[in-house]
Amino acid sequence: MVGDPVTAGPRRRVVGGRGLSAVLPGAPQLLAGRWGVGAAALLAWVGFLWLLVARWDRVWAGAGGPWDERLAVATVVLGLAGAWVWSWRDAGQPLAGRAVAVSQWDLAVRAFSRNRTAVAGLIVIGGLYALALVTPLVAPYDPLAQGDLMTERYVGLSAAHPLGTDQFARDVLSRLLYGARISLSIGFVAVAISVTIGTLLGAVAGYLGGLADTVIMRFVDMVISFPRLILLITIIALFQPSIFLITAVLGLTLWPSTARIVRGEVLSLREREFVQAAVALGYSKTRIIFKHLIPNALAPVIVAATLGIGNTIVLEAGLSFLGLGVQPPTPSWGTMVDAGRGVLLDAWWLSTFPGLAIVFTVLSFNLVGDGLRDALDPRLRS
């Protein structure tokens, strides 16, 4: 589909060219007003470079260390290389390199990048995941190491402990960083599970119709009407609570809404010409579902998934309140907020920082989700 040839106008794509890009990737784009990609590249470059210099000893040791440290080192190296190469190539592109034929996706990308709050959210999320990956290099302390219980408990913000210490004299900042990995992975994996199940079942129900549709949708009704709290508490009583169990339970109970969305999309897609054509060509049902239906029904699913990750992180915090969250001493943001709620008045930093971390993460996911929704829905584009 070809849209209006939207031109970039007189604005320049980059300022300073390859010379500046070689020194400070992202700067040329930023100066040209493309602040989204520019800021992302610049932040990645400066951040990772600082890490490389300031934590050189750890990076060096980490390269031969356990897998999570190796992963962190790899992230740093790849991040640096990626930012530099991308900026170099982008800076070398001709002025009106694009804007010839514009696809629906290009339009969506443009609509999205006009939405400043959404772009900011995306940068925050990217930063968070990057931070989670390089945590072993950044965290000042071992998140599980207890300090001196007599003198170092509930120490407020200080140079040694920028975000204070908790009831076991553990460093809150380190726990917050390691907690990011847990919370972000729970959100990501649970949503991945639910989106996969939901999309498959929704597409099958929508396309096949008839008995399959009835059975699947009645099942969806049942899962939706099921009191999830009861299920969660009982499952956690039955099995030992672990990160995997919690993630799995969340993933396995969140999929029905995705299934409903996908089914609705597929129902309308089914009647469209390109699907009819595929049927006429004698393609198998599997092929039609996977090649033609699911990709075209994906837009609302992506939106739902983005919002879902945020929801799941909040939900995990809620479970922690009931004692059903990630079990100690492993830090997750939810358990950290919960652990601090008894000393809110005297050691406010305990739950405030993880609480704010949750708020900003979920906020970012939601801003991105909203932005995606607006960008992917042609009716809402102005």
Partner: protein, 568 residues
């Protein structure tokens, strides 16, 4: 929308609160029958007994705690602390009560005597105590209560109370309306049971089959007592309301000073603290140690602590091969800095425990030689027991290469027990012992440790409440090994012998040296790592005066609390 809101509010307001007379109404047939009689009786007695001319009388005291009064006033089924406190000191009466020195004093019984041979205990009851529906409390109520609690069908939780009493109808004899005789075998502290089990009304509960007593609405829907406070209403998970009993005789302390006592359930500690600080409640029972400084700081609040009979320990399952050797268990205790746990986690509100005998108890041996915090000594003991780090991974192994790895379970939602497990993990790692803390949901944990065939744990952080009559038979006697509470699986002939003798030694002077011997044997055996005796903390508004809280409990003199008239 606003209209809707307002409408909802009016509807909600109208939905509750009783009839025009302001009386609470009850739907349950039993309650609908009995409660109007109680309300009439209270009105009558208010007429007949005007409030004495003393400024201390009057006002409402509001108390808050995180939990419900689970069993209400149903004394036949209680195993719960705040329930039994309300039975003993608020709604019902016990035959005797303890004074501050834990000496028995008359209460419902004005006197008692025990026969020469210690096999008959005769109580003479007061004749001026009335149930709040107007019936007089007499010997038949005592006999009924005794028969009920000793009847196995009732499933009275603390059955060990009755081990040395003759159970059933033969055990009790009504001599006359105010005299009752109980048969027993001679044993130590035989009066203890009568200070904790409150007397129940036979005229209301006599016809209830014992097996159905627990479900009876008497417990927490409409209990009828005879104590200093009259039950008014109870909204589940919200509040209990009691009014002063205008006819409570002078001889037992007289009418309580406060007109009304309200017990509120507020499950979140921070909310409770807020309510205390903002003067919406007057008393906060058992704040957390971390909240203590806030309460101490506040000028309008009083803060007090007392050591209680409740201790926290880590039970070691000696059925497990790595824990069978007493030296290993000693090493685990010596490798843990218990004083640090008390000072840090409890902010000092606790007393390090060496055995199950509370430090304030007469049986406590002040010269006790406890295991010190001594990581090197602990390491040496482990070495001696054959646990050495053979593969250099930081964890000791025995000769067969089995690592000294111990799972310590604790129940979900108990922060301090979780803290203990985590601290042990951190500290014992230093002497080559791997502790794995494992959280288990409470119901599941109880099943795993209480089921004799299961005992699915290595170590478990638990708490235990002793009575003033100390008796560890259920815990450590090899004869009880297939009973629910033989968690540690202890089989120690020395402990058996001492427990048997202590149970029947009547004289305290004679028992004291035996108790000292017992405490030494217990330290040697180390079935548990005894952590600490808890200190109960309490905070209350200074407008409530004359509050006494000690090892007998928080409610012990609630009938003497009064509200500063200036602040009413």
């Amino acid at each position: 929308m606003k209209k809707l809101l307002a409408l909802g509010l009016v509807g909600a307001a109208a939905a509750c609160g009783g009839d025009d007379s302001g009386r609470v109404t009850f739907s349950d047939p039993f309650c609908a029958d009995v409660m109007p009689r109680v309300q009439d009786w209270v009105d009558q007695q208010r007429e007949a007994n005007p409030v004495p001319d003393d400024p201390r009388y009057g006002g409402t005291v509001v108390a808050g705690a995180i939990g419900e009064i689970a069993d209400g006033l149903n004394a036949a089924v209680t195993s719960d602390y705040s329930s039994s406190q309300h039975q003993m000191f608020v709604g019902l009466m016990t035959l005797i009560e303890y004074d501050a020195d834990i000496q028995a004093q008359p209460y419902l019984a004005e006197s008692w005597e025990v026969s020469e041979d210690g096999t008959e205990l005769t109580f003479r009851l007061r004749d001026d105590i009335y149930w709040h529906d107007g019936e007089r409390t007499d010997a038949h109520d005592v006999a009924f209560t005794y028969r009920t609690v000793t009847n196995p069908e009732t499933a009275f939780p603390n059955a060990a109370f009755w081990d040395y009493y003759v159970r059933g109808p033969e055990g009790v004899e009504v001599i006359d309306d105010f005299t009752v005789r109980i048969r027993l075998q001679p044993h130590s502290e035989f009066l203890n049971a009568w200070s904790t089990v409150a007397i129940l009304p036979e005229h209301l509960l006599g016809d209830v089959p014992p097996a159905e007593l627990r479900q009876h609405p008497y417990g927490s829907v409409c209990p009828v007592g005879n104590g200093p406070f009259v039950f008014v209403s109870h909204a589940a998970q919200d509040r209990w309301v009691f009014d002063a009993n205008p006819a409570f005789p002078e001889g037992t302390g007289g009418r309580p000073f406060v007109d009304r006592y309200i017990y509120r359930v507020i499950p979140e500690p921070t909310t409770l603290l807020t309510e205390l600080l903002t003067e919406n409640i007057d008393v906060y029972f058992a704040p957390t140690p971390d909240q203590a400084p806030r309460i101490q700081e506040a000028e309008h609040l009083e803060f007090q602590t007392f050591t209680f009979r409740n201790y926290v320990m880590v039970v070691w399952n000696s059925r497990r091969p790595q824990l069978a050797d007493a030296r290993v268990r000693q090493a685990l205790t010596m490798g843990t800095n218990r004083q640090e746990v008390v000072d840090a986690i409890l902010r000092g509100y606790g007393a390090v425990a060496h055995t199950s005998v509370p430090p304030f108890h007469w049986a406590y041996d002040p010269e006790i030689e406890s295991l010190p915090y001594d990581p090197e000594g602990a390491a040496a003991l482990l070495e001696e027991a054959g646990w050495v780090d053979r593969d250099g991974d930081g964890v000791r192994e025995n000769a067969d290469g089995v690592p000294l790895s111990i799972t310590v379970k604790y129940n979900q939602g108990n922060q301090i027990r979780q803290d203990i497990a985590e601290i042990m993990q951190a500290q014992l790692a230093g002497i080559g012992v791997e502790i794995e803390p494992l959280v288990v949901e409470w119901g599941t944990l109880l099943q795993q440790i209480n089921t004799p065939e299961l005992r699915d744990f290595d170590g478990v952080v638990m708490g235990w409440v002793t009575e003033f009559r100390l008796d560890d038979t259920d815990l450590f006697h090899s004869g009880r090994i297939d009973q629910p509470y033989a968690w540690s699986g202890t089989q120690n002939p020395e402990l058996d012998r001492l427990l048997d003798r202590l149970a029947v030694t009547l004289d305290r002077d004679e028992a004291a040296p035996l108790w000292a011997e017992y405490q030494d044997a217990l330290i040697e055996e180390q079935p548990y790592t005894f952590f600490y005796f808890i200190e109960r903390l309490d905070g209350w508004n200074r407008r409530v005066e004359n509050v006494v809280m000690d090892q007998r409990g928080e409610w012990v003199n609630i009938r003497d609390w009064y509200i500063d008239p200036a602040s009413r």
